[in-house]
């Protein structure tokens, strides 16, 4: 039963991955013609040179042919070479990946660690002052533009603090340009971007934990547990929280793609050399092999995240049938 469910979901995932790469390529294809903007205007290049250059990169093929050979190569672990600097795309991805993971994993872990207790407090003290404060906080967190929050934090903690001669936080990059790179330096650089990113997760998940907890606590089995004289602590944590967290698994799984793309804007604001910014900058330069590589990689994560969340959910919650 579970196997069949997994197999069906896997098949659907493959279709989705193929569809996504195809759509990406169709979009990129329109810009392919002008690979390296202005190449046609270079007087030092003869028309046959340009034709040869384009042929070398496979740009004279129709896009479906290019797509099929790209796909074939990717299946053999070859993401091709960057259109801009000729280096293998996979090197770029692997070089940027650790930075992105450092930022997003920190944000997600911080988000979970803070949002679950906050959500539980909100649910247990429903209608209290702390509950209201939590609501206001998360409603506000939803409405703040991430990039602006980033700018404001830089304005306050980097610029203004520096003006006042106080210890200030670095406003961008993963490490200091000179002599940096040790753990303390990295952590210092991580504080501002991770705060911005985790605030988003925090407002999302704390609301969710709260409502999930409220729902679970109104279930019959919780009443039964109370009726048979179980201590409130055990009721809340053993029967309540454990079951309330099951839907959160799905929600966190859905954020897996955010590991790459969710941080893009934060990466841009804080000049963080991550995957999202790589895709952004390379897309502006029409480097479509790199963009295809990152999008493929990210989509793989999206699909894997959804799949993982579905399977975990089905295992954790026996009420779910593998339909």
């Amino acid at each position: 039963m579970l196997l069949k469910f997994v197999a069906r979901r896997l098949l659907a995932s493959v279709i989705v991955v193929l569809g996504v790469t195809a759509v990406t390529l169709i979009l990129m294809d329109r810009t392919r013609g002008a690979y390296v903007p202005g190449i046609d205007l270079n007087p030092a290049l003869r028309p046959e040179d340009i034709a040869r250059l384009r042929a070398n990169l496979g740009l004279d093929e129709p896009f479906y042919q290019w797509y099929l050979s790209w796909l074939w190569n990717v299946l053999h672990g070859d993401f091709g070479r960057s259109m801009i600097d000729g280096s293998p795309v996979i090197t770029h991805i692997l070089e940027r990946l650790p930075n992105t993971l450092e930022l997003t994993l920190t944000a997600i872990v911080l988000g979970i660690l803070l949002s679950v207790p906050l959500g539980v407090i909100g649910a247990l003290r429903r209608g209290s002052k702390s509950d209201h404060a939590l609501t206001v906080f998360s409603v506000g967190g939803f409405a703040i533009p991430q990039f602006w929050l980033g700018l404001m934090l830089i304005l306050v903690f980097s610029v203004t603090f520096q003006h006042l001669g106080w210890p200030w936080l670095p406003s961008g990059g993963v490490t200091s340009p000179f002599g940096g790179g040790d753990l303390g330096d990295r952590l210092l650089h991580l504080i501002l971007p991770a705060t911005v990113l985790s605030l988003f997760y925090l407002s999302l998940w704390s609301r969710f934990t709260r409502s999930s907890m409220l729902e679970v606590l109104s279930q019959d089995y919780v009443r039964t547990a109370r009726a048979k004289g179980m201590s409130e602590r055990r009721v809340v944590y053993l029967h309540g929280l454990r079951n309330a967290l099951i839907p959160l698994v799905t929600l966190v799984g859905l954020e897996l793609p955010g590991l790459v793309s969710g941080g893009l804007i934060v990466e841009v604001v804080f000049s963080w050399p991550g995957l999202g910014r790589l895709a952004f900058e390379r897309a502006l330069q029409y480097d479509y092999t790199t963009v295809m590589g990152v999008v493929f990689f990210t989509t793989l994560l999206v699909v894997a995240g959804n799949l993982l969340a579905d399977i975990l959910y089905a295992i954790l919650d026996p009420r779910i049938r593998y339909a």
């Binding site: 989705v16 991955v17 979009l27 329109r30 703040i144 700018l151 804007i265 897309a283 989509t299």
Partner: protein, 307 residues
Amino acid sequence: MLDPTSLPEIELPGSPFEGDTSRPAQSFWNESWERLRANRIGVAAGVLILILALIAIAAPIFSLVLTHFDPTRQHLIDNFRPPGHPYLLGTDELGRDTLTRLIYGGRVTLGVASLTVVLSLTLGTTVGLLAGYYGRWLDDLLMRIVDVFLAIPAIFLFILMSILFRPNAFTLAAIIASVGWGGVARLVRGEVLSVKQRDFILATRSVGAKDLRLIVRHLLPNVLPILIVAASLGVGQIILIEAALDFLGLGIQPPTPSWGNMLTNAESYFFHSGWLVVFPGVTIFITVLASNLFGNAVRDAFDPRLK
């Protein structure tokens, strides 16, 4: 049978079964409207949005009467003026009046947001109705397409499409809607699947109604409440996305002012003109906050699944 809790209890105006109890006859819409009006925060948020929209529509009047400046006219001598007189909220690097630009930026933001909502609702509803009503292979095909669009990391889709179509207000709305329609389609399809099973559809069919009539006259009114809810909950997100794209330089292009692109170069002025960073952001924040609060109130009032 379907799970009865998932079925919306909707009474259409003029239903013959009204008025049989002590309560005066109330249509679904009247009832929802009453509930919405009783929500004080929601009403306040709605009024605030209305005011912002009016200011945006009347932008030329405001710049004539209140600020006396043009949004794109440069006063190079007066650049980086702090808030005060005559520049109420100061000026930017080219000496353009911040308040005037904020007011005009509201036109862009609110215009793009409403257009996006219309586009994604239209496409999403059409796809959802067709997929849900006809089912079978059409359902499979359309829903796989939806899956693909929802699986592409949205931000990449936005970036690629913005590079492809140099964005103006209309293409920008289309770009944002290209992601939004998928969710609407899923929502509508789910609702149609449940409404389709109900007796009144069978009855309508049995008196000879054609597919088109069934879909337009009977299914569409039944999915209308969740559409209203989806629309009002979506506006805040759309405004945030639009602002972010403008900020990245992928949205509305200068010199047309928008709340997002007013922040694009903000980092260069940090050291001397912090207010240039503060005002557009606060404006976005307040607008999104009001939209979200209003959206929540609308959901509480209109969502048939919440009763």
